[in-house]
């Protein structure tokens, strides 16, 4: 069924001068959708043309609506010669196809040219009239909502989590087509931009179809990437988690907007075990993978695949509160539990979830990180249908496109299977926090996937969703939420890897591992001691230049060593900070022609439930040597000092346990003859609690050669974070709860040229480490006016764009918080103070601080929580219960809701419509502008004037101090910028600086046009930079994504004042 797309070109402003003679421009606009093009009149001699065109109407299939962008081209009319293009705007109309998102797109868009950048702005209005599609065999999937956010979006609740969806599409890269030799760079870039936009649209549509098939209505944690494979083509692939989401009525979604105050729920709720009331969110429907492509008979050129699974164990579960003998029961119960959940999960091919944080009770146990990598040769895709040559492919493109996705699918399928089996080995039936990535250099490609093996609540797994809690009581798992997820999921007698188990330091009933690594966010209810911090392991490995298989073999031989070493580094650094768990672990390995780069980032925390990490002990190889001994002693002292200092910095004062842990079945630690760098070794005797690291060595580093010395040095030279700063790469910073509203998102890119031709591994490591450290130092310096502040979601991406170049790109957000955690009653004062301070200095909070009493109560409750966590673990736990119960209640509500209205696959239920109506009406009440349409109309009204909507951006899923009231749709944009006058544009830095600023500007403009005022879960997924200084040329590709939202201040109903003009009034006082 068709839809009608309508577009109106209103006006332009700040156009460039196209006619040198008159210093003016005769501009007109072409509006193109699919194959239909309309033109406006020429607006002669004006740099601020008013076209006020009629409505251009396109009657199109909704399939096209999903795939195609609306293409607006601004041109300069020339009577005698060809019209010159000024620039283009691609408008993704997908948000208009979903009735819950935006209803109109209206606003000023930067006119973008791939050679000149932004050249003026154009005001466009777009609407869609969509007819309901009842065709069962339709190809479109309008109405499926997409979210980049990797948790259940704030104003929704998950009625059902269906599971993993994936898709990929392949095409030839326009830049490698023969025609590229004769066309202009501009045409080539535009062809590429358009193609990727088309492919993303198609991909999204196909994924949407899968979701509909599964009965869902949304994709959460949508992660789309593209692989520029050069000669062999362009792959756009995406993964996500299919869900059925219900919109929460605005009234009943009180504190969903932030993680910042998990403790607001009354304490009475706090002790309700999450699992008590049978909430049900079955993940029914096994996910059907549509690509059952047979793996081409071992064909893939050479299957170089190597895997690595790191995992750190955890617990099982305890009997209900009153001391059942958990240890004994654990075995059979676990088996049962596993049996039950397996049936549900085994139906689906891949029980993977791209989510990183979950509804309470969803996550039962966490096993550890599972990851798999595989090295592939791109030019050796063995395609039986086609033979071996790429040239053939170019001749017969159609047949290739038909076949190629399957090859790629097969590759990914292999990897996913591996992940799945790793998870199984850890006794887990699911993988959460799952993500996939690639690194390509020439014809070699590393495919990587990683996630966290986990056991999910069986009740969420079962097919039917109505049989609430009938069978379940036996499996009630009353592990407190603050530690339950740490408990090991596997059999302690049959451990998948050597590790030390102890009884949980929190509940003392279940076994926990000594260290826990995960890729997910720290569960908000987890009990944590002290604060967390960013931990990075960095590694460079030289590799001989080679071609083809030799190269691929060399790379795959290096990979395990790199993973191993990265892991060792992480472990050492973790111990050095006296922490025992990593969250948000992301290991990236990039290939270059002559080196491999490895970067592992994670947020370290001290989980109260896990044993205190032992110290690090240095051992010399030749004990007799006196001078050596002295040397070792000094190093040992430095290490001990560092650990002590770090404990202070991160406020890690684990509670002393007075009673001894009973009946540890864990055998005495093996003889530590050679523990050097063995990550699985650790030593603390379980029965004996020794919190000082000095006496009981947990971790022995043996200095046997210079390498080891270097390693230890690098361990110690990690710069400490300046006071007032914190950093993490996760959504929540453990230990900080009282965010104020100043937010500064930033992107930073550095490229370092290795000047020295013959570098050693050691030298490279040093350079790479310095590069990363210096970047962090730079951030601290630049953001010093925001102190106290936390850099959250620090996302490092490394690449080797050319031989001898190392590129590091970082996107993160700096958020201020209130330092006075100790104050009993934090009145308005500290808040406003923080605000004023930042206003006076370099950073600009876009919004005035919330100043209501509710902030205070929140704060104080948070504060008390924080304080107490540091000394009394049980109290800390109870505080966390609060948040849990809070979330729980919404979850329960949801279930009650579901009981009324379970109709699988139906998008609308009576209750839901009701609640929707409610949300609309409450909006109406609260603001004079009822919906997105009129809001954005209002913003357009000002186009003659000087108001630009302030759009905040953050890589997190929330903005502190605000509440998201509406998701307007996904932002997924791809831009290419090229220059042939690099020097004139300020060199490579000037070029990239303005390009990134332009990308931000375009994202903001699109969000504003949708009626939004913020982007959450923003990420820059690709930043490919190439230069040729000799030719004075450079090219850069950037891909960004995020969720456009409308958010309001937590304390009020009104949308955040979003016009600069408006904010102006309130800010001028401070300004002058």
């Amino acid at each position: 069924m068709p839809g009608k797309l309508k577009a109106k070109i209103v006006a332009g402003r700040h156009l460039p001068v196209m006619d040198r003679a008159s210093d003016l421009t005769d501009a007109f606009v072409e509006v193109k959708f699919g194959n239909t093009t309309f033109k406006t009149d020429v607006c002669p001699k004006s740099l601020n043309p008013q076209w006020n065109s009629e409505w251009f109407k396109f009657e199109v299939d909704d399939e096209d609506l999903q795939d195609e962008p609306l293409q607006v081209t601004v041109l300069d009319h020339d009577t005698y010669s060809a019209n010159d293009a000024i620039g283009k705007v691609y408008i993704d109309i997908d948000p208009l196809l979903c009735n819950e998102a935006a209803s109109v797109i209206s606003g000023w868009f930067p006119i973008y040219d791939t050679i000149h950048g932004i050249r003026g702005e154009i005001n466009v209005l777009v609407k869609v009239e969509l007819f309901n599609d009842l065709n069962r065999f339709r190809q479109s999937s309008c109405g499926v909502k997409f979210f980049c956010t990797t948790s259940i979006p704030r104003c929704y609740r998950a009625a059902m989590v269906h599971g993993f969806v994936e898709e990929l599409v392949v095409n030839e890269d326009p830049e490698y087509q023969w025609i590229d030799r004769i066309r202009t760079p501009r045409a080539s870039n535009e062809a590429r931009q358009r193609l990727i936009s088309l492919m993303s649209g198609e991909l999204q549509r196909k994924i949407g179809l899968k979701v509909l098939e599964m009965g869902g209505n949304a994709v959460v944690g949508y992660l789309q990437c593209f692989d520029l494979e050069g000669e062999s083509g362009l792959v756009v692939r995406a993964i996500g988690t299919a869900c059925t989401l219900d919109k929460l009525s605005s009234g009943s979604a009180p504190n969903t907007a932030t993680h910042t105050h998990p403790n607001t729920a009354p304490a009475s709720n706090a002790c309700n075990s999450p699992s008590k009331d049978g909430k049900e969110s079955p993940l029914a429907h096994g996910c059907r993978s549509t690509h059952n492509s047979p793996v081409h008979s071992a064909c893939s050129a050479q299957r170089l695949s190597q895997n690595f699974s790191v995992s750190v164990p955890t617990l099982i579960f305890t009997g209900m509160g009153s001391g059942g003998s958990a240890g004994k029961e654990a075995g059979p119960l676990k088996t049962l539990l596993r049996q039950q959940t397996q049936t549900a999960l085994e139906q689906r091919e891949f029980p993977f979830f791209t989510l990183t944080s979950f509804p309470p009770g969803f996550l039962v146990h966490v096993g550890g990180v599972v990851s798999a990598r595989s090295v592939k040769l791109l030019d050796r895709i063995h395609n039986p249908a086609l033979g071996n040559t790429r040239s053939y492919k170019l001749l017969d493109w159609n047949s290739v496109t038909a076949d190629e996705p399957e090859t790629r699918d097969a590759w990914w399928e292999e990897i996913r299977q591996e992940i799945k089996s790793h998870a199984k080995a850890l006794g887990c039936h699911a993988v959460v926090g799952y993500s996939e990535s690639t690194s390509i250099c020439e014809e070699v490609c590393i495919l990587s996937a990683s996630g966290t093996a986990a056991i999910l609540n069986p009740r969420y797994m079962r097919e039917g969703c109505l049989d609430i809690g009938i069978v379940d009581h036996r499996f009630e798992d009353p592990s407190p939420p603050s530690c339950g997820f740490c408990h090991i999921p596997y059999d302690e007698l049959n451990m998948p890897f050597p590790t030390q188990l102890t009884y949980c330091y929190h509940c003392r009933r279940q076994k926990v591992p000594d260290v826990l690594f995960t890729t997910i966010d720290l569960p908000p209810e987890a009990a944590v001691t002290g604060k967390g911090c960013l931990i990075q392991a960095r590694l460079c490995r030289l590799k001989k230049k080679a071609q083809g298989e030799v190269n691929a073999t060399a790379i795959s031989n290096l990979l395990p060593f790199m993973e191993y070493e990265l892991h060792t580094q992480l472990m050492n650094k973790l111990k050095l900070r006296s922490m025992n768990a990593l969250f948000g672990l992301r290991i990236q390995i990039s290939i270059g022609e002559n080196m491999l780069l490895g970067l592992a980032s994670a947020t370290g925390v001290y989980l109260t439930a896990l044993p205190a990490p032992g110290g690090i002990q240095i051992a010399g190889k030749t004990p007799g040597d006196l001078s050596n001994e002295h040397h070792i002693l000094t190093i040992q002292k430095r290490i001990n000092d560092t650990i002590a200092k770090n404990k202070e910095i991160y406020q890690i004062n684990p509670p002393e346990l007075t009673e001894e842990v009973v009946g540890s079945p864990i055998p005495e630690p093996r003889q530590r003859s050679r523990l050097f760098r063995s990550h699985s070794e650790s030593s603390d005797e379980v029965s004996e609690l020794d919190l000082s690291h000095g006496k009981k060595d947990a971790f022995v580093l043996e200095i046997d050669d210079t390498d080891a010395v270097e390693d230890i040095h690098s361990l110690l030279t990690d710069a400490t974070i300046p006071t007032g700063f914190n950093s993490c790469n996760t959504e929540i910073m453990p230990g900080i709860y009282n965010w104020t509203s100043a937010v500064q998102m930033f992107t930073s890119v550095r490229v370092f040229r290795l000047s020295n031709a013959n570098l050693t591994n050691q030298g490279l490591n040093k350079i790479f480490t310095d590069l990363c450290e210096n970047l962090l130092k730079s951030f601290y310096f630049k953001l010093r006016s925001m102190i106290p502040c936390c850099l959250c979601h620090l996302n490092f991406t490394v690449a080797v764009p050319e031989e001898e170049l190392i590129q590091v790109a970082v996107t993160a957000v700096a958020m201020t918080y209130d330092k006075d955690q100790t104050q009993e009653k934090p009145a308005e004062k500290p808040i406003t103070k923080g605000c004023i301070e930042t206003e006076e200095q370099l950073q600009f909070p876009m919004e005035l601080c919330a100043d209501s009493s509710s902030t205070n109560t929140q704060l104080s409750s948070k504060i008390s929580g924080v304080q107490e966590t540091t000394n009394v673990s049980s109290r800390a736990a109870s505080v966390d219960y609060g948040s849990f119960a809070d979330r729980c209640s919404t979850w329960l509500e949801l279930l009650r809701l579901k009981a009324h209205t379970i109709r699988r696959g139906s998008v609308k239920t009576s209750r839901r419509t009701q609640s929707l109506a409610h949300s609309v009406s409450s909006l109406e009440r609260s603001s004079p502008v009822p919906d997105g349409r009129s809001r954005s109309l209002r913003s357009t009204r000002g186009f003659g004037g000087s108001s630009v909507t302030v759009v905040k951006m953050t890589p997190l899923s929330f903005l502190p101090g605000t509440r998201i009231i509406k998701y307007l749709g996904i932002i997924n944009m791809f831009f290419i910028r090229e220059t042939t006058s690099l020097r004139e544009e300020g060199g490579v830095s000037g070029f990239l600086h303005s390009f990134i600023a332009e990308v931000f500007a375009m994202v903001r403009a699109h969000v504003a046009a949708l009626g939004g005022n913020a982007v959450v879960s923003y990420s820059m997924k690709e930043c490919v930079f190439m230069e040729n200084p000799n030719k004075n040329q450079a090219q850069c590709l950037i891909n960004v994504s995020g969720d456009a939202v409308i958010c309001v201040r937590e304390t009020d109903q009104e949308p955040v004042p979003s016009n600069i003009g408006q904010t102006c009034t309130s800010e001028t006082d401070g300004a002058t």
Partner: protein, 366 residues
């Protein structure tokens, strides 16, 4: 570590006011880094020289990209490239259009032409303002001049609206434009002792009282007049013509004597400098009235300030008048003219003397 490429871009554009000032002052990146290091930012936040360099480069780039927008500040508010909070924008603009008094003193009243621009390096050497900064300031003057030159309406208001400047700065620019347009001579040695603020004050007086716009609420009678009505940049030609009538004060012997006796009666016993005043009265009066009478000539308009100094301020100073003497004398000198029954040009006289009085007060430094 020398970076091949090093950028940092914030969603909200990050600007350090200190670095902005260094950039405006024309410091090179390395000089700016030096200044910052001496300023002690490094100790404050444990930064290294590398960090400082990288930060300074980033900021310089940002400023360079913003500069184009600052040419027409109204654009800064509705451009999309940089997200800058309004009060930041105001600071950016205000600082960008700020100037050094030492520099402006050098170009005040000069034609804002390429010729003058070529001399900027001399001015730079003389004033110790970097050439880069001189150029920016000069270009700002020129830009403002070009925009408001042809505009109707009050000059200060026009500048404030088009360049979003503060009232004070807009007034200063009005003075600069006014001086440049009328090419008042300010560079002569005798005028060296006067500061820009002295001149700016005088310009304000002239703009407010001697231009067409200054006359105020007159309803224009024909189209021609309405066009003329709001032009603030030029002196009111009609008024200048009328000033010629004042000559009677010195050409008519009776009137001159009468005027003198009236002034002397009023002054007697009130000042130590009475004798000198009495002796010099005719000279001084001739001086002031002649200035008035000659103002129809463009050349004499240019010499207005030098004439004031030569014909009035210098003689008074050599007689050791105090500022109070000056005030007293000029007040009585002006007021006495009203009592002269044969003197019919009271309105013109007041309009003239009002400005002259306040200009001289300002220009007479003790």
């Amino acid at each position: 570590m020398a970076m091949e490429l090093d950028v940092f871009v914030g969603n909200t554009t990050i600007m350090d006011e200190e670095v902005y000032q260094l950039w405006l002052d024309g410091y090179t990146v390395s000089d700016a880094v030096k200044v910052r290091m001496e300023g002690g930012v490094m100790e404050e936040c444990e930064a290294s020289a590398d960090v400082l360099l990288s930060d300074t480069m980033d900021q310089y780039r940002t400023f360079q990209m913003c500069e184009r927008l600052l040419y027409s500040p109204a654009k800064l508010a509705n451009q999309l490239l940089f997200q800058i909070p309004p009060h930041r924008q105001a600071i950016l603009i205000e600082r960008y259009y700020a100037f050094d008094d030492a520099f402006v003193r050098e170009v005040l009243g000069k034609k804002l032409s390429k010729g003058t621009k070529k001399d900027l390096d001399d001015i730079s050497a003389k004033t110790n303002v970097t050439l880069k900064s001189c150029r920016r300031q000069f270009d700002n003057f020129k830009r403002v001049f070009k925009v408001v030159e042809e505009l109707k309406g009050p000059l200060v208001e026009n500048i404030r609206q088009h360049f979003l400047l503060s009232d004070k700065l807009a007034r200063d620019y009005a003075a600069i434009v006014f001086f440049a347009n009328n090419r008042f001579e300010t560079g002569k040695r005798k005028l060296q002792y006067l500061t820009f603020q002295d001149f700016a004050f005088c310009a304000g007086q002239l703009i407010n009282n001697w231009t067409v716009g200054a006359v105020g609420e007159q309803i224009p009678t024909d189209h021609q007049r309405s066009f003329r009505f709001y032009m603030d940049v030029d002196l009111d030609k009609e008024f200048l013509q009328e000033l010629k009538e004042l000559k009677i004060l010195i050409t008519d012997k009776d009137l001159l004597d009468q005027h003198k006796s009236l002034v002397c009666t009023a002054l007697r016993g009130k000042t130590k400098a009475f004798n000198e005043m009495e002796a010099n009265f005719k000279n001084l009066s001739r001086g002031l009235v002649n200035i008035a009478a000659k103002l129809t000539n463009t050349k004499d308009v240019r010499d207005f300030f030098i004439d004031l100094v030569e014909k009035f301020i210098e003689p008074c100073r050599s007689d050791r008048w105090t500022a109070a003497d000056m005030k007293l004398y000029l007040t009585h000198y002006t007021n006495s003219a009203h009592i002269l029954d044969t003197f019919k040009h009271q309105v013109v006289w007041d309009r003239y003397m009002g400005v002259i009085k306040s200009c001289i007060f300002k220009m007479f430094h003790d």
